[in-house]
Symmetry: C2
Subunit: 394 residues, 2 copies
């Protein structure tokens, strides 16, 4: 009997220990995409450690992540149409569905109840119940006289359970109000047509007011002020795009790579070795900063005092840090081959960086600009921290 009791007590102790290990706040956690192995790592930023790896997530090239409003669950949007829900606390895959043949990006509604995914094949946007991943609404991106289906890109959330996206093939911006979707109603769609050729990406300002689409087919961008009574798109930043092409464009910069700091946007020039400065109120260019290569991500530290920039191949081994008040580059260093993505902690004292071809994550102290530590990772790309749960459009 004593032996049985001992076994039970050991079991009990194990369970308590396991549970205790998982009993933790989720505000300092994050997930890192491991691109070629279809896996992710769960990390925490207080002691800068890796907590777990979760595998079996399919094709994660260009994968992205959003978080549940309690910061417990991560939703991973794969390139192969996979949508995976991960539990950061039990460190397990909670559910995984294949919702399309080829997809790019997703969003979570402001109330945390809906997940939207943007699809290439078939075109359109699908909306799921965030708890169960059951389909709630399907929005085929039908356009033109022939009822063609368009690829959708630049999907973001906006206040009021709305999702906004662009139709690449159609040159349209759509706003889907899904505030009654869970009550069984179809989303109300507002369409803006003829917004420009081949809108390839989109972003929303951090207050959820302005939606901006980048155009691959012409110079300039298209902007919607979502506070208007009757929604319409207007042209901004003429000359921003493929333009004069003095240099070959290795990669169109992602619009998530725009930064806002001190009343201006800082954005990657297309094809040029420059960061452009644009007034955040008028959307007119007010200056530029010469940099090391074609910028990809131009990331502002949360206080807007520093801007960190990475570059397109073949200059993607280098990082430059810009001091915003002076507009000067205060630091240049070479973290290693293929610096793909950067993420700040929410108050900006740390920056995490994926160095894909060296299978490493570097962590920096943004005050001293010195490296704090490195963590091993398999071909890391995107880095996403849980603070995104509380922000509009991320």
């Amino acid at each position: 009997m004593i032996r049985i009791l001992t076994s039970v007590l050991i079991l009990l102790a194990m369970i308590v220990t396991t549970q205790a290990a998982q009993l933790r706040g989720t505000g300092d956690m994050g997930v890192i995409i491991e691109r070629t192995t279809g896996s992710v790592q769960i990390i925490e930023t207080t002691n800068q450690t890796s907590l777990a790896r979760i595998e079996g997530l399919g094709d994660l090239s260009h994968a992205s992540i959003v978080y549940s409003r309690d910061e417990r669950f991560a939703y991973v949007f794969g390139r192969d149409g996979g949508l995976s829900k991960i539990d950061l606390l039990t460190q397990k895959l909670t559910k995984r569905i294949m919702q399309a043949g080829n997809s790019i990006g997703g969003a979570i509604s402001d109330d945390g109840k809906l997940i939207a995914v943007s699809n290439y094949k078939p075109g359109g946007v699908k909306i799921f119940n965030a708890d169960t991943l059951e389909l709630v609404a399907n929005i085929p991106a039908i356009y033109g006289a022939d009822n063609d289906l368009s690829k959708t890109v630049g999907l973001v959330d906006a206040p009021g359970s709305r999702f906004i996206f662009t139709l690449y093939d159609a040159g349209e911006i759509w706003v889907a109000d899904c505030s009654k979707c869970l009550a069984g109603k179809s989303p109300e769609i507002t369409k803006m047509k003829d917004i420009g050729l081949q809108p390839y990406d989109g972003l929303i300002s951090s207050d959820g007011r302005y939606y901006i689409a980048g155009l691959f087919g012409e110079d300039g961008m298209s902007m919607v002020d979502l506070w208007q009574d009757k929604l319409s798109a207007r042209r901004i930043l003429d000359g921003y795009g493929r333009g004069e092409k003095k240099l070959p464009v290795y990669k169109m910069p992602h619009l998530e790579g725009w930064a806002q700091a001190a009343d201006s946007f800082y954005l990657p020039a297309v094809g040029h070795h420059q960061v452009l400065i644009v007034d955040a109120k008028t959307f007119k260019q007010t200056g530029s900063i010469d940099v090391h290569g074609q910028p990809i991500f131009v990331m502002a530290r949360p206080d807007g005092r520093q801007i960190w920039v990475n570059f397109a191949h073949p200059r993607n081994d280098t990082i430059q840090v810009i001091d915003v008040p002076s507009g000067k580059i205060i630091k240049e260093f070479k973290p290693g081959k293929a610096v793909l993505h950067m993420e700040f902690t929410p108050r900006g004292e740390q920056l995490w960086m994926s160095v894909r071809d060296e299978n490493r994550i570097n962590v920096y102290d943004t005050r001293t600009l010195e490296k704090i530590t490195s963590l091993p990772a398999k071909t890391p790309s995107g880095i996403f921290f849980t603070w995104r749960a509380g922000r509009i459009g991320l």
Copy 2:
């Protein structure tokens, strides 16, 4: 033996159940001050429920709260000099110290390692290790030829482990750089003198760049641009203050009651039934909105589209909601006696409100402006959600 085994298994099941109940993300949690009973409630905003009450926290009039960077622990700053650390997951008081005789407000450093508390008696600021609550640094607010001790107010954090506060009696603003305090070094103090008479409160802009002190002893305010190489204060908003006093001032508005929305600050006029609109770049007044009473808190929904306003006694039973684009009041309602504090969820779809004299918390849907639910609470005052952990200056 079977009886013993059964007992053990029941115990085991109880432990697992208890642990499982606490295994939860912390991104949707919050703490509500129960003013007269020295207690707090822990709540969650996904299903809008109360999870626990913690008692024995001393005098909580004018109490405030900051959160650890993992959003697991809340630090409660009491009026009686008490500093309490609460675990939101085990729902227990982790530690409580009496650090002064009379204090007002506190802050947590951007790296989450330091807690600072602002004291009336004795004057000055004390800085503690956030893990252990051990004293790390003591900053007596000594001023003038006679080495008097000043009350300190308006304490906030700024990037780089800095704390900023004003000396009420001395008319000074001090910046304490505590980035080496945990290594045993004293904080480096930068003092700005003659900033104005009786600075009674302070705030820092959401990017951590501008610190603004309100003046009780004269009209106008004092502002420091923390991006300057050599710090100095300059006067802004001449005429903002006790001023002409056409109406008796029942209560000087807290500066945390300022809101930023769409390139402007919205702030409570002192003594007048108005919300003032001030350009966020030039700090010049550009307009005003007539409201129901003397405004206390002027709170912007996180997207800046709406402003919610409460009022000083005797008009503190009423709330007005301003639509920012039109500048019009779109809703007025009477939640009950003594509406003291309001808090938005981080993406703004809910607003929580304490109705002190009715012992209730009301929760509103900010889209429909309808009440979602009410929760009982004992004389509730301040409401603080965990999203504050990731913001500068909150």
